[in-house]
Symmetry: C2
Subunit: 428 residues, 2 copies
C-alpha cells in the first residue's frame, strides 16, 4: 500500500534518517521547490555527542532529543513519517517501510551507524551499547542498579565486580564516559552509598590499539590519558577483549577482569538498508559513494554522513564518522539535487575540518583546531560552548546550560533515577 | 536471609514507601536516636501532582522525580533499600522483601494507592492508568503514537477514533489532564501535524457522578467545567463507563464512544501488603487506623497517607487522599514513635485543611482556602507557586520553572518524544 502524501508536481526527495546529515539536508533543501519526505524510526533527532551525560545522570534524555515535527513545523514542504525503512527498490524507484511504500525521484540515505560487536555474539548479548537515547537510559539504570546490588553483595569479590565499570574503546565516547564515571565516583556516589567503600570502585578504559583519541595529536592523546588517570581511571592500551559472559572479561593476553558492567564503544557499522548489491558496501557497512555523494551506479541516490564512504587520497578509508562531515555532506547533497534538476554540474565534497575535541571532566578537555592546540579549563569551556551551540532548540540549550552550571557549582549529577530498571532481555 | 544493616542498639523504624508521608516521617524522625530503614520499589520520590504534565509533554519526567538516596545523603541514620515489600510478619516483627528479611521495632506503612479499575478486567487491560512516572511516560508515548497513526488512517471514522482522548474521572487528575490535552490541541499539535484536521480532535471528560472536583464548592466546580468547555473539552457528567475493549467505550446509558486512548483516573485503592486480617482493611483497601495512626490492634505499627483511614465524624470515610494529609500524618507519627519510646501519651491527628486547588490550563485555575475562593489568572499563578515550592530539590524547581515560563511565552509543550513506544503488553 502506498503512503498517503499530498499529490504534487514537485519532484519528491526521500530522506532516510534525521541525524545531523538528514536534518541539515532537509533544512537546506526546504523552500527550493521539492516535496521532501523524511523518515526516521524515532520521532526525535538525537544529539549523540551528549548521550554519555545521559548515561551518567548529568542530563535528562529529553534535553538532548528534539521532536522532528517541531523542527519542521514551519516547513510546509517537509513531510515527516515515523517509520522504519525496510527495503529500497532501485528499479521501481520506491522504498518499502513499516507503514507502506513510497516512491522517490531522489533518495538520500542518512541512517548513520549502530554498534559493531564484530560478530562476537557473547559480547553483543552481554555488553551495553550506547548509541541511542534508550541505550543511554538503560546504561544509567544498570550503573545505579549494580550499586544497589553492591550494597547487598554477599562477599567482597562480588561487591568489587558490581563496582567495576569497564569501557571498551578509546575514542571520544569511551574517554568521555570514563571521565564522567570517575567524577561520579569522586563527587557524587560516596554520599549516596555510605555503606560502600568507593576505593573499590574501578573505572577501566580498554583500548585494543596503542593510543586513545586517534584523531588527535600525540601530545593531546597523552594529556587525555593523564587526565583520566588523575581522575582515578585505569587505561589499558593494547588490550583486546576476547570474550565477556556478563560477569567476566577475558582479554586476548589472558587477563581476567570481573565486572557486571561492560560498555562497548569500540566500533560502529553502517545501518544499511537492503536493496543494493554487496559491492556497494565497505567492510564497515558504509555505502561507497563518489565525491558528489552518489552511490556508485545511481545518479539520483545519495548517501551522507557516517554511512557514506568517499575514498580519497587524504582519507583512503573514508572521512571520520563525525557530525561536521555529515552536516557538510547534507549541504552538498542539497546543492547537488538542485544542480541535477537544473542540469548543472555537480559539486564535489571537500571536507572543512574545523578540529577535534574531547572532554574528560571538570576543567579537563583537549581541543585541536588547525595548528592550535589547547586543553585544561579553556579547552573544557570551549567544549561546552561548541556543544551548547550545536544543540537543537533554545529551550534545550537553556536546560542543558543550567544543568551544567548546577553540576559544576555543586559537584553534582542530579538525574540518578532508575525509571525503567534494565533487564538483559530488553537490550535492543 | 536477613538484610545487612549496621548493628545498633537504637530502635529500628522501618518505613515502607517514600511518597509525601514516608518522606516527611523519615525527615522528621532523623537525628532523634533511631535507626531508620526506608524501603521503596523506586529509587526516587515522585511528585505525583505534576505527573499529568509529564504525560502531556510539558515537563521532563526527571524534573518531578528525585533520587531518595540524595534526599537523605546527610542523614546518616537513614538507610534506603530499593526493594518491594512482600509480607509483614507481625508476630515476629519482621518484613519480607524482594532482597531479604528485615526486623522492626516500629513499622510505618506509607505505600499509597494504585489505580482502581473496580474489578473490570476489560478496562484494566485496555485503559491507561497514570499513577507512576512510567505510566505517565507510557501515556505520553500513546498520545503521540495515536496521532502518528492518525496521519495514516484509512478512513475518517478510524482517524477520529485515533484523535479522541477520553479521560474517566472528574477529580483533579482528570480535570488537569483534560485541560492540558485541550491546550496541546489548541496551541501545539496543529503545527506539528499539518496533515490532520484538529477540529476532529476530541477531549472527553467522563464522570459517573453529577459534579467534578468534589472537594471544591459548587461555584468553583461550575467554573472548572466552564473553563474546560471554553478550551474545547466535552464534559459528560452522570456517565458511567461500562466497558472498553481498546477501541470502543460502552457507557451504562448505552452511548458508544470510539477511542484508542482511554485514561482511567476514576479511582484508587490502597497498595496493601499481606500480613493483616481482612478486618484491618476498608473496601478501598485502606488500613483502618486509630486517631494516632496505629493500625487497630498494634501499638508499634502505623499507616499514614493515602493508605490510612481514620474514620471521624467530619470524615466518616477517612480523610481525602491528598499530599497535605500524608505530610501531616508523617509529622504526627514521628512524634508518636518518639512518645512511645519515652512512654508519653500519643497525639491524635487533627487535619489542618489549607484548601484545594486545580488548574485547567493557561490563566485558568480554581483555588479555595478557608473561606477565600478565587480563580482565573491569580488562581493559576497561586497553583504554580504552591506546586513549585513543594517540589523536592532546588534544581528541579529551576528546571520546572523555566519549562513553565517557556511554555507560557511560547504556547509550547516541548517534550513530545516517543522514547519508548508504548505497547499494550507492557502496561504495568
Amino acid at each position: 500500500m502506498a503512503l498517503q502524501l499530498p499529490i504534487s508536481n514537485q519532484k519528491r526527495v526521500v530522506i532516510i534518517g534525521c541525524g545531523f546529515g538528514g536534518l541539515e539536508l532537509a533544512r537546506t533543501l526546504s523552500g527550493k521547490g521539492f516535496q521532501i519526505v523524511l523518515f526516521d524510526k524515532n520521532n526525535y533527532h538525537t544529539f549523540q555527542p551528549l548521550l554519555y551525560q545521559v548515561a551518567t545522570a548529568g542530563l535528562e534524555a529529553d534535553s538532548i532529543a528534539y521532536p522532528i515535527r517541531k523542527i519542521f513545523r514551519d516547513n510546509k514542504d517537509v513531510f515527516f513519517r515515523w517509520a522504519e525503512v525496510q527495503h529500497i527498490n532501485t528499479t521501481e524507484q520506491k522504498i518499502n517501510t513499516s507503514i507502506g511504500e513510497c516512491n522517490y525521484d531522489f533518495l538520500v540515505i542518512a541512517t548513520g551507524t549502530t554498534t559493531n560487536f564484530f560478530n562476537n555474539n557473547a559480547i553483543a548479548e552481554n555488553a551495553m551499547p550506547m548509541k541511542t537515547v534508550v541505550e543511554a537510559l538503560n546504561l544509567r539504570s544498570l550503573i545505579l542498579q549494580n550499586l544497589e546490588k553492591a550494597t547487598l553483595a554477599e562477599n567482597e569479590e562480588e561487591r568489587k565486580a558490581l563496582m567495576t565499570y569497564a569501557i571498551v574503546g578509546g575514542g571520544p565516547t569511551g574517554v568521555e564516559l570514563a571521565g564522567a564515571l570517575c567524577e561520579l565516583k569522586k563527587h557524587v556516589l560516596p554520599n549516596d552509598y555510605p555503606e560502600l567503600d568507593f576505593t573499590h570502585m574501578e573505572v577501566l578504559l580498554i583500548e585494543s590499539g596503542g593510543e586513545v583519541l586517534q584523531n588527535l595529536c600525540k601530545e593531546n592523546q597523552a594529556k587525555a590519558i593523564r587526565y583520566l588517570t588523575d581522575l582515578g581511571a585505569s587505561v589499558l592500551l593494547n588490550t583486546r577483549v576476547a570474550s565477556y559472559d556478563g560477569s567476566v572479561i577475558n582479554t586476548a593476553d589472558e587477563k581476567i577482569i570481573r565486572t557486571y558492567s561492560l560498555i562497548w564503544a569500540a566500533g560502529v557499522k553502517g545501518n544499511e538498508i537492503n536493496g543494493f548489491d554487496a559491492t556497494t558496501l565497505t567492510p564497515g557497512r558504509r555505502y561507497l559513494v563518489n565525491e558528489s555523494c552518489q552511490i556508485n551506479g545511481f545518479e539520483n541516490i545519495f548517501a551522507i554522513g557516517d554511512i557514506a564512504c568517499i575514498c580519497t587520497e587524504t582519507f583512503p578509508k573514508g572521512h571520520p564518522q563525525v557530525a561536521p562531515v555529515a552536516i557538510q555532506q547534507g549541504t552538498l547533497v542539497a546543492e547537488n539535487i538542485l544542480a541535477l534538476t537544473e542540469k548543472k554540474g555537480l559539486k564535489k565534497f571537500a571536507y572543512n575540518d574545523k578540529g577535534s575535541m574531547a572532554t574528560v571532566g571538570r576543567n579537563r578537555a583537549v581541543v585541536e583546531t588547525g595548528k592550535i592546540k589547547f586543553g585544561g579549563f579553556f579547552g573544557w569551556f570551549a567544549w561546552m560552548a561548541v556543544h551548547l551551540m550545536q544543540l537543537v532548540g533554545f529551550r534545550n540549550r537553556i536546560v542543558v546550560f543550567i544543568n551544567w552550571v548546577w553540576n559544576y557549582i555543586n559537584y553534582d549529577r542530579n538525574i540518578r533515577l532508575i525509571i525503567r530498571p534494565f533487564e538483559k532481555k530488553n537490550q535492543a
